[in-house]
């Protein structure tokens, strides 16, 4: 049977498969949205509007995004192991296109999550109007870094026995730098301070993680 196997076709097929699976099962999105909405509602009831506390607002925004998304982002590979479909996947495509497809899905997942969470956050928390260009730039780069890190960690821990404990241990050093930069940049854009350094840092961090991931993925499933 003639085939024109390409990494692009495989990654695209994986992305479509992930979207269809999420659409059918609502495995991650419902719980992520539930967490985000309940957290924001509870905090807004308890603390009220915090328009003048941009430092707290910036931290809260990224904490909500991180915790709402993290379990689902890292779970894209774990689901394959727990559903025993990893063998099917390995016989279908190479490890790198599989991981790239899942990374693209995680980016899309974060985008949809933020589409709901961020406007709700701005309204419920009484946040000052952001500088939209910078704000969206920080969100985009922060999300790219978060998705890349979570995909890498998910891929590495998926086949391990103690993946729950490993997930926390491996995630922490990868997530702290990106969270610090994202929070700092979000606060700075509200304060009117320059955010160039943080944006560069986030971009460099994402690229470095992506490069490391692409080097690692091909060796993921070598028993």
């Amino acid at each position: 049977m003639p085939t024109r196997e390409s990494s692009f076709a495989a990654a695209w097929a994986i992305l479509r498969k992930e979207c269809r699976s999420e659409w059918r099962t609502r495995y991650g999105l419902n719980s992520a949205l539930l967490f985000a909405v309940t957290t924001l509602t509870a905090v807004s009831f308890a603390v009220g509007r915090m328009g003048d506390r941009t430092d707290v607002l910036a931290a809260l925004l990224w904490v909500v995004i991180l915790f709402a998304a993290l379990a689902s982002l890292a779970h894209t590979f774990v689901r394959e192991v727990e559903g025993h479909t990893l063998t099917l996947l390995r016989l279908t495509a190479a490890a790198t296109p599989i991981a790239v497809g899942k990374l693209l899905f995680n980016l899309l997942f974060l985008g949809v999550l933020e589409l709901v969470t961020v406007p709700l956050f701005l309204i419920l928390m009484g946040a000052p109007p952001p500088h939209w260009g910078l704000f969206l730039g920080v969100l985009a780069l922060g999300s790219a870094a978060l998705a890349t890190a979570a995909t890498l960690v998910g891929a590495v821990i998926a086949q391990t026995r103690g993946r729950g404990a490993l997930f926390a241990g491996v995630s922490l050093p990868l997530l702290l730098p990106l969270l610090a930069a994202a929070v700092s940049a979000t606060r700075a854009q509200w304060s009117g301070n320059p955010v160039t350094f943080e944006l560069r840092l986030l971009a460099a961090y994402t690229l470095a993680l992506l490069a490391a991931s692409l080097l690692l993925y091909d060796h993921l499933w070598e028993d």
Binding site: R4, A10, A13, L91, T92
Partner: protein
Amino acid sequence: MAAIRIEARAVAHRFAPGRGLQPVTFVHDGAGCVAVLGTNGAGKSTLLRMIAGLLRPTSGVLEIRVDGADVPMPARRRVVGYASPELAFYDEFTVGENLAFVADARGMDGPAAAVRDALDRVGLLERIDDRVAALSSGMKQRLRLAFALLHRPPLLLLDEPGSHLDDVGRAVTEAIVAEHRRTGLVLLATNEPRERELADSRIELRGGLGHPA
């Protein structure tokens, strides 16, 4: 017809001391059907997983050549059709969607026709729109066979192909083996006497339960 050759030189895989595949050496050249035999735990499935490129031998050399060209481990999935009880599908997708995903990811020409053809060969075409979660064990086994046949590979690796199948399903399997062995190679890991008879040569594995290495 692709010329296929498999050569194993003292190939072994050790999961734990005394567990796994004991060193095995064999050469098979050309089309046909080979039975991989051994007691439970002898390493039949392990050997098939290594040939499929899913598992790396802990020692020894395993070479697969198609039309004279060496097929390295990462490329084996292109020349191998693999059906095994461990192979699971996405329950939330239909039978057709599962195979269409595989065909798309592999970049196959005419994926829809290939999916229908593979399902037709295993007698599962009428269930193409059913969710996998709704299939019986026997139908899932037929789907595994369809997955193995989808890209028309020169090498078929069938691990306990008759498991969960009724008489009609077994007849389908036998027909697939009979057809494929004329142009390609079938490796059949089995303990079933009826399936053993399909083979024209055997690889006997040592080790496993009741058969110390």
